[in-house]
């Protein structure tokens, strides 16, 4: 590193070394952060005609740090004005670089970790976050101010400041991670629900194409039976026994109502068998009405009554029942094209996205929907911020309107990189050459700073730090580890009217959030008629969500739209 950064002119050959206290004062007084710390110091000395210069060692270290800072800002950029708020820490880093030997081991010094953590905290910040980004700005400003106190009191515990910041960042990012997980679950639930709707409709429509039916039976099939079929698909899947039973029961029901040319006795015998078995099967499969026994009885009664008419040879008014219209407006269909550029786009990656409608956004990819060819992005708070098709995103990539952002041990790796430590081979060369400077000038630093041991330690630090998971990233649960306890500080992001699918019991249950009671902090779920079917505390609800026992099927309620529409009609 010294060889790489030792300049021609330093205090070693002009014999006017600058006292360390003076250098620290110059560093403290830096107010122009467009320059490297060394340039900023020299600018000040020249301005006042101070002939003293930093020593060779100090100059080399400051040059190295300057390069590292430039690399860091280029490779791990942050948005303004947040980026500028970190600038005073460049001076602090420079002061520590010339006073603390540990600074020379990338990743080892608290300030390295502090800058790494600050960058990880700020990676998702952009000016359009508004109030949602204010906490990040305040947190960063406060941390910078506390760290800069070192200039006045070198006992300032930078490690403690870093640890404290890391804990807050971890907590906030975990919270955002959970929010993002809800977004993902909501989207997956929406797709799952739409798939179930489509499959259920297709099954019933196929049967209705094949058979005519009385109007009342048609209403039953396209109403509660359709809703139950969706629940069966959601809970058991379309390759399950219950689904086979549902399909068979639908066919049997419709078939039993047809007028067929068959010996009357055989037909009667068949109808008798059907009449005995069908109500049981239908009651069992009517999942959508399982909390409304009266409605189940009504439905079964209708079928029994219709069969009675068949047995009495009374004519049924059979007609073609209109097919269920599911549409496909709410699920974007993929075009089936392949976009090479998106192969490397992975969930969890941060992006700077310029949509041309103002300042660029910083978004994290939360979900990649291969079949639908859609990408879903969340912002720093874990809230859904953008959904784009593969095609649109690939186009933005091609136009360089989106750039990948990176975090992790950002500053530490920039330091290592500026020292030329890109590979172990380079490290070896550096070690061999580090002992003596050009011109036979002896290295002033203690040998261990640049010895093999120190560099080995450096690599170890860098590697260890680099493989550490990014601060606050949601961790995959390892086998055998206890399940994480739900964070009860998180508010489930469920607006009134959200439909959820519960599959914690034998039978799936679909329920609508009627109230989040703020006093009791519990959640009351109802059926379509507002009848309470479930009440959960926030803790239990969060735990069930974390355990994957709940699908978010629909987060929007149409009630307010309907009210607005009715008001408009009244006015007209």
């Amino acid at each position: 590193m010294l060889k790489r950064y030792t300049p021609a002119k330093t205090a070693a050959n002009n014999e006017q070394p600058m006292p360390l206290e003076e250098l620290l004062q110059y560093l403290k007084n830096i107010d122009s952060f467009d320059l490297t710390p060394l340039e900023a110091v020299l600018l000040q000395t020249e301005a006042i005609g101070d002939p003293a210069l930093p020593t060779t060692q100090q100059t080399a270290i400051l040059q190295w740090l300057g390069t590292a800072l430039q690399n860091w800002q280029q490779s791990f950029p942050l948005e303004q004005p947040l980026a500028s708020e970190l600038h005073p820490l460049h001076a602090l880093a420079a002061a520590l670089a010339v006073t603390d030997p540990n600074f020379l081991i990338p990743g080892a010094h608290p300030v390295h970790r502090l800058l790494d953590t600050l960058q990880a905290r700020a990676i998702g910040w952009h000016s359009r976050l508004g109030r949602a980004g204010a906490a990040t700005q305040q947190q960063i400003a406060k941390t910078v101010e506390r760290a800069l106190a070192w200039f006045d009191d070198t006992d300032t515990d930078l490690a403690a400041i870093c640890t404290e910041l890391a804990a807050v960042v971890q907590r906030d990012q975990a919270r955002a991670g959970r929010m993002a997980q809800r977004v993902v679950e909501a989207e997956q639930g929406r797709i799952k629900s739409a798939d179930a709707r489509r499959q259920a409709a297709q099954m019933i429509n196929t049967a209705l194409e094949k058979f005519q039916a009385p109007e009342a039976i048609g209403a039953f099939l396209t109403g509660p039976w359709y809703a139950s079929a969706q629940l069966v698909v959601l809970k058991f899947g379309s390759d399950s026994k219950p689904w086979e039973k549902m399909v068979a029961t639908t066919d049997t029901l419709l078939d039993s109502l047809q007028t067929v040319e068959e010996p009357a006795d055989n037909r009667r015998q068949y109808i008798f068998e059907v009449v005995t078995q069908l109500p049981k099967d239908i009651s069992h499969l009517l999942l959508s009405l399982q909390h409304d026994s009266e409605a189940v009885e009504d439905a079964v009664g209708l079928i029994e009554f219709t069969h009675l008419r068949v047995l009495r040879n009374q004519p049924l008014e059979l007609g073609q029942i209109a097919a269920i219209d599911v549409g496909d407006e709410d699920i974007a269909k993929g075009e089936g094209d392949h976009f090479d550029a998106l192969d490397r786009v992975e969930v969890g990656q941060w992006w700077r996205v310029d949509l041309g409608d103002g300042e660029p956004l910083r978004l994290q990819l939360a979900l990649k929907l291969e079949r639908e060819q859609q990408l879903l992005f969340t912002n720093q708070a874990g809230i859904k911020a953008l959904q784009q098709s593969y095609r649109d995103f690939a186009e933005l990539l091609a136009r360089q309107k989106v750039t990948a952002l990176h975090c992790g041990a950002s500053f530490s790796t920039s330091l290592a990189s500026a020292a030329g430590i890109d590979s172990t081979e380079q490290l070896g060369i550096l070690v061999d050459a580090a002992a003596v400077l050009p011109g036979g000038m002896a290295v002033e630093e203690p040998a261990e700073y640049f010895g093999q041991e120190a560099i080995d330690e450096s690599i170890e630090h860098i590697e260890q730090y680099a493989v550490d998971e990014p601060v606050g990233q949601t961790r995959q649960e390892a086998p055998g580890e206890p399940a994480p306890v739900a964070d009860t500080n998180v508010e489930p992001d469920l607006p009134m009217g959200t439909w959820l699918g519960f599959h914690d019991g034998d039978k799936p249950l679909m329920a609508k959030l009627a109230v989040h009671d703020r006093e009791k902090d519990n959640y009351i779920f109802v059926n379509r008629k507002g009848i309470k079917i479930l009440q959960l505390s926030k803790e239990v609800l969060l735990q069930m969500m974390d355990d994957g026992l709940i699908d978010i099927l629909q987060t929007s309620s149409t009630f307010r739209d309907k009210v607005t529409q009715a008001q408009r009609q009244t006015e007209e």
């Binding site: 009134m496 009217g497 609508k512 109230v515 009715a566």
Partner: protein, 119 residues
């Protein structure tokens, strides 16, 4: 219960309200069932309304109250406390709703409004 013994004053305010009697199925494009009716009395805690059809006691329903002067609409959650048949042909049923302290509702604005009206 006499007016004096009530926790909060009941005011004979008539305004248009919307009640979601049956919500659409999850993910469906059907419209559900929304009743438009009138309040007969209002208080901080509840509403008495005239309805054309019976509502189930205990049901928790979404309510939109259109404010008479501003035309603004407050969205609340209410539990049906009682429901009785009327003799008046226009409004076959009367029902009492207990308003719930629900997050994401306009209950705070409602209470503030009623407090203002009680003065």
């Amino acid at each position: 219960m006499s007016q004096e013994k009530r926790k909060h004053l009941r005011l004979p305010v008539e305004s248009t309200i919307f009640i979601e009697l049956v919500s659409p199925r999850a993910g469906s494009s059907e419209s559900g069932e929304v009743a438009m009716c009138k309040t007969l009395e209002v208080s901080r805690d509840g509403l008495r309304v005239g309805l054309e059809r019976e509502v189930t006691v205990g049901a928790i329903l979404q309510i939109g109250v259109q404010l008479p002067e501003s035309g603004d609409t407050l969205y609340l959650a209410g539990e049906v406390s009682w429901c009785r048949a009327n003799e008046e042909p226009q409004q076959s049923w009367s029902a009492g709703f207990k308003l719930l302290n629900a997050a994401n509702s306009d209950i705070d604005r409602w209470i503030a409004l009623l407090a203002e009206m009680e003065r």
